[in-house]
Amino acid sequence: MTSDLPTMTPVKHSHSVVENGNGAPWRALLRWESALVVVLIGALVFGSSESPNFLNPTNFFYIGMNMGEVAIMALPLTLVIMTGEIDLSVASMLGLSGTVMGYLFSNGWSIWLAMAAALVVGVLGGALNGVLVAKVGLPSIAVTIGTLALFRGIAEILLAPRTVTGFPSSLTTIGVVPIQGTQIAYSAAIFLGLAVVAGIVLHATPLGRALVAIGLQPEAAQFSGIRVNRIKIWLFVLSGVVCAFAGILLTLKNASVSYDAGTGLELNVVAIVLFGGVSIFGGRGTVIGVVLAVAIVGALQQALTQMNVQPEVQNIVIGVLLLISVVIPNGGEAIRRIRDRARRHA
């Protein structure tokens, strides 16, 4: 129906209207992130209440070391989710790249070539995802569930049931010692560096603005000259490469790899991104939020581990965090809707 009125479009996003970085709207933007800061402080307090040395720099090193790979994978996933897609194959790619590296290395390849091959696998896997989603037009959730299985399956074919060890110690120590003179894990440092880049790209460059536009209104983005398909393909390739890189890091850190490396980590990565305030529908979110979410999850996991809580329970915490992060924004809406319906039938 044609109308001159500001018509009521169904707005998918239930966060209050957020504009990315324009004067007053910074306020709305940072509401979620401010809440995360509070939660982070709460997590640190919780951790230190249970364990006296929690706030030691050494402890932060361990947090960084444990979270590094997951955190690194969260960054390209943030960009992918920003455009309204999803990549559930991240952990399988991590496993596959580690497996490829281990497989080649155990067959006599030089470690550097093996690592390069692992990265190439990341490119190929990401390209597969990208082409199926952007060119063929398949839904990314279905595609990446499929590649999740496919990548893991290929890893299984290559390596099961073996475990590869014997990686050069010069490389394997890097993952387990902090950077000289500090208590920062290498993987944490890499994560922070990548986060800065991701943040700048997403929030301050035309490419970032294009990503947001694609997530909010893909057709309008296309009509504005943005090459939606090409961008999506490259994002998936980026995700593949970065996950492959994370797989290399994890393998070296553990000094071993078997085909099921990283099984199940995809949930942690998705949970962190969503908990960081990135909307599952696309078009909303900040890198800062994701960084905060990484810190919170890392701190919580460390605290729980030091309390001898089993990994399964930690999973419960992650699951609940994920639920909270999506229920709260919608919660206000839901309450309003229930009230409206009640009023109408009164």
Partner: protein, 526 residues
């Protein structure tokens, strides 16, 4: 009596089961809406909504975009409750607390965009939620299909009820929606701009269906802004303007000019300011453009300082031609040259860099990112230019937006607000600002004033006129005959994917355009 109508619609038929449909003016009205009002905050959507519907009568509700027709319909549909005024059905005052109540009272709305279930069968679409049950409360498919066939027969059409709804043309989907309405025993059928997406033949069939409905005693409320259709199918007309009822009369007591004057409320010339054109060099040169299955052998030129209109009925392929020129769709063959340089196939960015701009048909999905702010939307096509060291310069972005907001007289409260908060007319200005910010040499604009109030319409036309005087080349697609006649220097008429006529401003009039658009010779009205 059988009516013979002009070229746009059908020759008269006797219909139904052999009886004539006469006006039932002597019969009591089936629906009366009396002085309904509706406000949304500060916006007065409806000041005086009044209409009286009689059984067996097709009643046209005419008005420009923004006249309040849609609000009135939503009140009839039970989607909105009127703030004041009365609604009487069969003489009894009613209030609807939702669409279900309206449907139960016998009022059915056929919306412009049919909402069917593509994966379900036609019959199931009609009877969703009320499928006939057989033994053991299981759905009796055969009975359902039979019932659907029966309804179709009542409408005088044949459609396979067991076929899946996906793939039906818009016209067929409408038939299904009408069948659905009949299955609810609708006494009043409200059709909201039903012919917007129909071809000539389909429009003709729709008019016959309306006649059949009338023969069965239903009242049909036909909402349109196309005057010729009102004359072709209705017995009575009500005109609205600026949210208010203006007048109502039997169709034979009014002329087209009367109606236009009532709809517009002012002189036609003021609506379409036109400086005589002084066209310069060729900016757009399209040769033998073809897209398989959509359009064929399209060749035309647009020069600096002129407005070329692409006219034709919906489905003729006008928007598709524009999309192919801009590169959103890939062409099968043919060339597109902008200022002498050939454009590569299917690359909008290349067209943009060559100086082409496209204001698309669907503002909300294609023209704007609704949830982004005003300045972000204005800047969306110019981000490359606003960069320094790879980063967007917010200050320049804001500057750009402010410049164009001023130039276009945009009415907004804060630049940082999303475009959702703007009226249709102002939203269109944002889209225009986005493209004009690139200083294009060719502006393709698809339905420039659809969904815009009369005042802003005039502004947009004035803007286009002044841009053209300054040397812009404009390719305009419009379904509004008056707009085409008022603004265009040349009119290219498309029919079913091919060029049917290429008319100069002098040659173009309602007659010549409609003749070319429909391929029929008009018959003088009886």
């Amino acid at each position: 009596m059988a009516r013979v109508d002009d070229g746009t619609s059908v020759k008269g038929f006797t219909f139904g089961w052999g009886y004539e449909v006469t006006d039932q003016r002597s019969a009591p009205p089936v629906l009366v809406l009396d002085h309904a009002t509706k406000r949304f905050g500060a916006v007065r959507a409806l000041e005086d909504g009044s209409i009286t519907l009689y059984p067996s009568e097709a009643h046209a509700l005419l008005g420009e975009n923004g006249a309040g027709k849609s609000t009135l319909v939503k009140i009839l549909a039970g989607v909105y409750g009127a703030d004041s005024g009365e609604l009487l059905i069969g003489g009894e005052p009613v209030t609807f607390n939702g669409p279900a109540a309206s449907r139960a009272a016998g009022v059915s709305i056929i919306y412009q965009e049919p909402t069917l279930f593509p994966d379900l069968s036609v019959a199931e679409n009609i009877f969703m939620g009320r499928q006939p049950l057989g033994v053991g409360r299981r759905i009796d498919r055969a009975a359902m299909n039979r019932a659907a066939t029966e309804i179709f027969a009542r409408l005088g059409v044949q459609l396979d009820p067991a076929r899946v709804a996906r793939g039906l043309s818009v016209a067929d989907q409408q038939i299904v929606e009408i069948a659905k309405a009949l299955s609810f025993n609708a006494q009043v059928l409200v059709m909201d701009e039903p012919t917007a997406a129909l071809t000539t033949v389909e429009v003709g069939r729709l008019f016959e269906v309306i006649r059949t409905l009338r023969a069965q005693g239903a009242a049909v409320l036909f909402i349109t802004h196309r005057i010729e259709e009102a004359f072709a199918s209705c017995q009575r007309v009500t005109i609205m303007r600026d949210g208010s009822f203006v007048r109502t009369a039997p169709i034979e007591e009014v002329t087209v000019e009367d109606i236009i004057r009532s709809m517009v409320g002012r002189d036609l010339d003021a609506l379409f300011p036109k400086t005589p054109a002084a066209p310069g060099e060729v900016v757009l040169d399209v040769e033998h453009l073809c897209r398989d299955g959509v359009f064929y052998d399209i060749s035309f030129q647009v020069r600096r300082g002129e407005i070329v209109a692409l006219a034709g009925l919906v489905g003729a392929g006008r928007t598709e031609v524009a999309r192919a020129v801009f590169g959103i769709d890939r062409r099968t063959s043919g060339t597109v040259r902008v200022r002498g340089e050939e454009l590569p196939n299917g690359k909008p960015l290349a067209a943009m860099n060559a100086g082409v701009a496209l204001v698309p048909e669907d503002r909300r999905q294609q023209g704007l990112v609704m949830e982004m702010s005003i300045d972000q939307n204005v800047a969306l096509a110019s981000l490359g230019r606003l960069r320094r060291f790879g980063l967007i310069r917010r200050s320049r972005e804001r500057e750009l937006a402010t410049t164009w907001a001023t130039r276009l007289q945009l009415r907004f409260s804060r630049m940082g607000n999303t475009v959702l908060t703007l009226s249709g007319g102002n939203q269109q200005k944002v889209v225009l600002g986005k493209w004009l910010a690139r200083n294009p040499s060719l502006l393709i604009i698809d339905e420039p004033t659809r969904g815009i109030d009369v005042g802003t319409k005039a502004e947009v036309h004035r803007l286009l006129d002044s841009l053209v005087v300054d040397g812009l080349a404009v390719l305009m697609i419009s379904s509004e005959l008056l707009e085409v006649l008022g603004m265009a220097d040349r009119v290219i008429v498309l029919r079913e994917g091919r060029i049917a006529a290429d008319l100069t401003r002098a040659e173009a009039d309602e007659d010549s355009i409609m003749r070319a658009a429909t391929g029929q010779s008009p018959v003088a009205a009886a």
